[in-house]
């Protein structure tokens, strides 16, 4: 119980909640101010590893409540973890970890792990896909966003991306997804901000994760030719391959553990010197409607196998990062699209639920358990889900502010609202003052920004068909102030916002195959 300090409000209230008008900070976007010194995700060397656990992880069997174990047992007798098998956490007695999670237990005890109870969002959606989209984009329950939270962070921080990238300041991919298909969390208003890299960094497979072998035929000849060109066109391919080759000697990872293999690749790339900010890895198997545990032995079964993989993989990764001397640079977080129901079902499983515990790990993370074990009154029924204690966007916002050192006023434009900040990251993480850099080639800008009624958009075209579209955050086309053939040069156009609501708008410039997006903020008078 001595970790109460964890819950202490370490940041002045005024800093957590800048004065708001319609959800947008008035202080925003000017020079100077308290957070100026904190500015600069582009300049620090911090890395975030996001681990997606697909299917909806059963939180109550992951972080098992001990303070109300009797109620817990009563609500899910057929799958409950025996009290004496729950792994204790040093100095914290209200809950413990699933018996297979010895690796993460050790991380907690060596102050490399934070546990956040009941993270979710209001009006939870219990379907996989919508809830996944909500977590990846940072949307509200009834909202559909076309951009992801990481994509908005990266495209705001790495100004003007992708025009003028890679460059000396950012020679590497902004983000890397281990796998073949990019997660929508990386979609920025100007397109994807990440590159997909397969687990086994193979020279030829690097670009085309889908590389079915070619037959000895004309088709095989031509496909091989195009694949070769495709590889040549990827400006990052050589960097990735050479970073993988330069990596320091890695410590052991568990075998037959797909998540561990992905994290091993991540560690290799960080160690090899990539400046990439965000990595994403993923693992399925958490949709445990049935057979979550083995009958008669509830600490075994599908869920136990999955959690063991997670715990073994993360703890091996952390050990590797530590021995590579990268401990101060890397944190990670897990999430699933939702937790599961409180009561188990008759198939030794659990159905889709709502809030879930998540893990944030790494040396810079403040060890502790945030929040309280959920209340489990016996009046619950089979459809009951855990209510949220923390909005998942509070976690995102906190990581942006306290790990990537983003000015909170910019966070508002990335998450669209202000969310409570949480004490997860050591306060020393963002102390180095570095000036913000102007990166890439700026083809479109607007002034003033933020604006009240109108703003002047200045844009550069290389000639030919030139288009500027204004989108709102849901991707709805608001207006097209420019759509014509232009001679090469710089032009201006005034955008009148009329009756549009205050908030974030994207001005997207397209000229040939070049596109760039400018974030514009409309504020009230």
């Amino acid at each position: 119980m001595k970790r109460r300090q964890f819950l202490r409000n370490v940041i002045p209230a005024s800093a957590i909640f800048p004065s708001l008008v319609n959800g947008f900070t008035v202080k925003a976007f000017g020079a100077g101010g308290f957070f100026e010194s904190l500015y600069g995700a582009a300049d620090n060397d911090h890395v975030l590893v996001v681990i997606q656990l697909s299917g909806g992880n059963d939180g109550l069997n992951t972080v098992v409540p001990l303070v109300n174990y009797g109620e817990y047992f009563g609500l899910r007798q057929n799958i409950a973890i025996p009290e004496n098998k729950v792994l204790p956490l040093a100095g914290y007695s209200k809950s413990g970890l699933h018996p297979v999670m010895t690796g993460m237990q050790q991380m907690y005890n060596s102050e490399e792990l934070a546990i956040l109870y009941s993270v979710g969002y209001p009006e939870p959606n219990e379907s996989h896909f919508p809830s996944t989209d909500i977590w990846l984009t940072g949307a509200d329950e009834d909202q559909y966003l076309t951009t992801g939270w990481t994509g908005r962070f990266l495209s705001t921080t790495y100004e003007n991306f992708p025009v003028g990238y890679p460059n000396a300041t950012m020679p590497d991919p902004l983000a890397i997804q281990i796998g073949s298909v990019l997660s929508e969390c990386f979609m920025g208003p100007g397109g994807f901000t990440a590159m997909a890299v397969p687990m086994d960094i193979d020279f030829y497979n690097l670009i085309n994760a889908t590389t079915d072998p070619v037959p000895n035929s004309p088709m095989g000849t031509e496909l091989t030719y195009i694949r070769t060109v495709a590889r040549q066109t990827n400006k990052y391919a050589d960097l990735i391959v050479s970073a993988a080759a330069k990596a320091g000697s890695q410590s052991a990872y568990p075998a037959n553990n797909d998540l561990a293999a992905q994290l091993k690749t991540v560690s290799k790339l960080i160690s090899g010197g990539l400046k990439t900010k965000v990595y994403m890895v993923s693992m399925g198997g958490f949709d445990t409607h049935g057979g979550q545990v083995q009958a008669g032995n509830t600490i075994t079964g599908n869920h136990a196998n999955s959690l063991k993989q997670v715990s073994d993989a993360i703890s091996a990764f952390q050990a590797d990062i530590n021995q590579l001397g990268l401990g101060k640079r890397v944190i990670g977080m897990t999430f699933s699209e939702f937790g599961r129901r409180i009561m188990s079902n008759g198939s030794a499983g659990t159905d889709h639920g709502a809030a879930q515990p998540i893990f944030v790990f790494g040396q810079p993370v403040m060890k502790g358990v945030l929040g309280n074990p959920p209340d489990l009154p016996s009046t619950l029924d089979s459809s009951s889900t855990l209510p949220m204690q923390y909005d998942f966007r509070s976690v995102y916002g906190t990581i942006l502010r306290d790990w990537f050192c983003v000015d909170p006023t910019d966070i508002t434009t990335m998450l669209y609202k202000n969310y409570q900040y949480l004490p997860i990251i050591e306060s020393s993480a963002c102390t180095v003052e570095q000036p913000p850099s102007t990166l890439g080639d700026k083809l479109i800008r607007n002034d003033p920004n933020p604006f009240v009624d109108s703003t002047t958009i200045t844009f550069k075209t290389a000639g030919g068909n030139t288009l500027i579209q204004i989108f709102d955050v849901s991707g709805k086309l608001i207006g097209v102030p420019v759509s014509a053939n232009y001679a090469a040069g710089e032009y201006t156009v005034v955008f009148y916002s009329g009756a549009l609501a205050t908030g974030v708008y994207y001005a997207r410039l397209q000229n040939g195959s070049t596109q760039q997006v400018r974030t514009m903020i409309k504020v009230p008078e």
Binding site: F129, E184, D212, I226, V229, L467, Q515
Partner: protein, 551 residues
């Protein structure tokens, strides 16, 4: 437009074929695979409806229908260029046609604008093609009679180029000799290759040379025409010219009426000189002589094979395919439909292990195919302004991908159809491949737009047009039937399904229920967004793979 020299990487090892198949009529399976192969080669992309339609025919019926000529265009190019203060100096009002409006003087600004209008209109013809090879074959003949209108922007008006298109189209499925004759006498070609100044007192050899080298007998080692044959042909062609209105005229006084002697390659033929009004008949004598060589038929058959099947023509293909095909061509009196029919119905064409999925899409095939296959929503045909905006976007895209109609960089055609060892691979290099990906990404995400007219793929509309979009397995396989000719392995398809459509899960029902949630309430933004997003990711991913560029 810049004209990069062709750069062949020459990296693909060409293997000599050891095929036993030939031109016998194919009698094998007639499934989605074969139908899609035939349609991808003869049309710009495969539409779902077309695939289903031809599945209901026999192979022979399908080829016959595809080889049926379609009616001449019912529209004409319009004044799409009166904007930003520009008005047509001859008084043609906006959205009236400039064809045959009297004055055609070649003012280069007006001419550039009219040619753009013509190019856009031609794009529209291809985009709106019927179930016929007609437009693709017209494009093939355009490459054969390759022209760059910019070279003569100041002295050949747009209207003769419109007539040039009509000649290609009118004869595309007809008689090749007639096509050559019409092209020879067309005002555009007379001016383009200097036939209009070819007089007995000052012969100009240009057309006489290209007629043989590029249009008929070609330049293969077996094509042994001589410089004196070029000179003799030029003399035959003297007197054919145009008047000040760019109408064809024969100037009897300029025609060389002496006999013309040809080399042994042409059997030492003597074309008897004709004078007066009978002078033009010498052209028929010349064409009869040229088409009496086996090499003429072979040259055209190689060109057809290169364009519709594959570029690799080794000794085996030459003897098993080209030579007998040339025999068909000659014995039919150079009937284009006859030769296409034999080729497209052949065992060789339907040898899927050899002939399928090996054709790198040309920029026009790539761009128009994408728009047609996804059935990208187009403006109402009566909305001229919007239609021309879309055609202009397509024109600009294909131009930057190095295939702009009426702007062919060499008289021999686009590099990809004649250059050295790389051939079709010349369409793809690190610049154009990046541009192709940028285009597919653009189309599947924000879309393109010009003059407020959008052009964007609706992945929901496309998926809805398939037979079984609620089943993630069938959704992928039916999408691949349309989008891909390269088969994907079962492992890859499973991975696509689980990674993209199922979001890392393994239960197919999750996709099915998401699709059903959308169809039950299509206007719900979350239900719609859920399936929209996953389909967008799926199609974007498929179009980003090298496989997408093969047809």
């Amino acid at each position: 437009m810049e004209r990069p020299a062709p750069v062949g990487l020459g990296m693909s090892a060409r293997k000599s074929t050891a095929l036993s198949d030939g031109l016998d009529e194919y009698a094998g399976e007639w499934t989605t695979t074969e139908v899609a192969h035939l349609l991808k080669r003869t049309l710009f992309g495969v539409k779902v409806d077309d695939l289903n339609y031809f599945l209901g025919k026999t192979m022979s019926e399908a080829v016959d229908e595809l080889l049926t000529a379609t009616p001449a265009p019912t529209t004409v190019p319009l004044n799409s260029y009166s904007s930003n203060g520009y008005t047509d100096p001859t008084g043609v009002a906006a959205w009236d046609t400039w064809i045959n409006t009297g004055v055609d003087y070649p003012d280069s600004q007006m001419n550039t604008l009219r040619l753009d209008s013509l190019k856009c209109w031609w794009i529209g013809q291809m985009l709106n093609e019927n179930r016929s090879i007609h437009e693709k074959l017209t494009l093939f003949w355009h490459n054969h009679f390759a022209v760059d209108t910019l070279l003569h922007i100041t002295d050949i008006p747009a209207r003769p180029w419109y007539d040039y298109y009509l000649i290609l189209r009118a004869n595309a499925l007809g008689n090749f000799k007639q096509l050559v004759k019409s092209m020879t006498l067309s005002p555009a070609m007379l001016c383009y290759l200097n036939g209009n100044t070819n007089k007995k007192t000052s012969p100009n050899e240009n057309y006489g040379r290209e007629l043989q080298e590029l249009y008929t007998v070609g330049k293969s080692p077996a094509s042994l025409y001589t410089q004196s044959d070029v000179e003799a042909a030029a003399r035959v062609l003297t007197g054919h010219s145009v008047d000040s209105y760019f109408n064809y005229v024969f100037n009897e006084g300029d025609h060389d009426d002496q006999n013309k002697a040809f080399s042994t390659f042409y059997g030492s033929t003597i074309i008897t000189g004709r004078s007066g009004a009978s002078g033009p008949a010498e052209l028929d004598d010349l064409l009869n002589m040229i088409f009496n060589t086996q090499e003429s038929a072979k040259f055209i058959c190689r060109q057809i094979y290169n364009f519709f099947v594959y570029y690799n023509i080794d000794a085996n293909i030459e003897s098993n395919i080209i030579t007998p095909l040339a025999q068909v061509f000659r014995s039919s009196g150079y009937d284009i439909t006859a030769v296409m029919s034999v080729l497209l119905k052949s065992d060789h064409f339907f040898n899927m292990a050899y002939s399928s999925a090996c054709l790198i899409k040309s920029p026009l095939d790539f761009t128009l195919g994408l728009l047609r296959e996804y059935q990208v929503k187009m403006p109402d045909p009566s909305d001229n302004g919007s239609s021309y905006s879309v055609w202009e976007m397509i024109l600009q895209t294909t131009a930057s991908l190095q295939q702009e109609i009426l702007r062919i960089p060499e008289v021999a055609g686009w590099y990809a159809y004649y250059e050295g060892t790389a051939y079709h691979e010349l369409w793809i290099n690190s610049v154009t491949y990046t541009q192709r990906n940028a285009f597919t990404d653009l189309m599947i995400t924000n879309g393109d737009m010009m003059n407020m007219v959008p052009m964007v793929i609706d992945p929901l509309a496309f998926a809805s047009s398939l037979a079984s979009p609620a089943d993630p397995n069938l959704l992928i396989s039916e999408s691949l039937d349309i989008l891909y000719r390269v088969p994907l392995s079962a492992d890859t398809i499973l991975s696509l399904k689980q990674t993209i459509l199922l979001g890392g899960l393994t239960t197919d029902y999750y996709w099915t229920s998401a699709w059903q949630a959308y169809t039950a309430n299509p206007s719900d933004p979350v239900a719609k967004g859920t399936v929209f997003n996953r389909l967008q990711t799926l199609y974007k991913y498929l179009m980003n793979l090298p496989e997408y560029h093969l047809s």
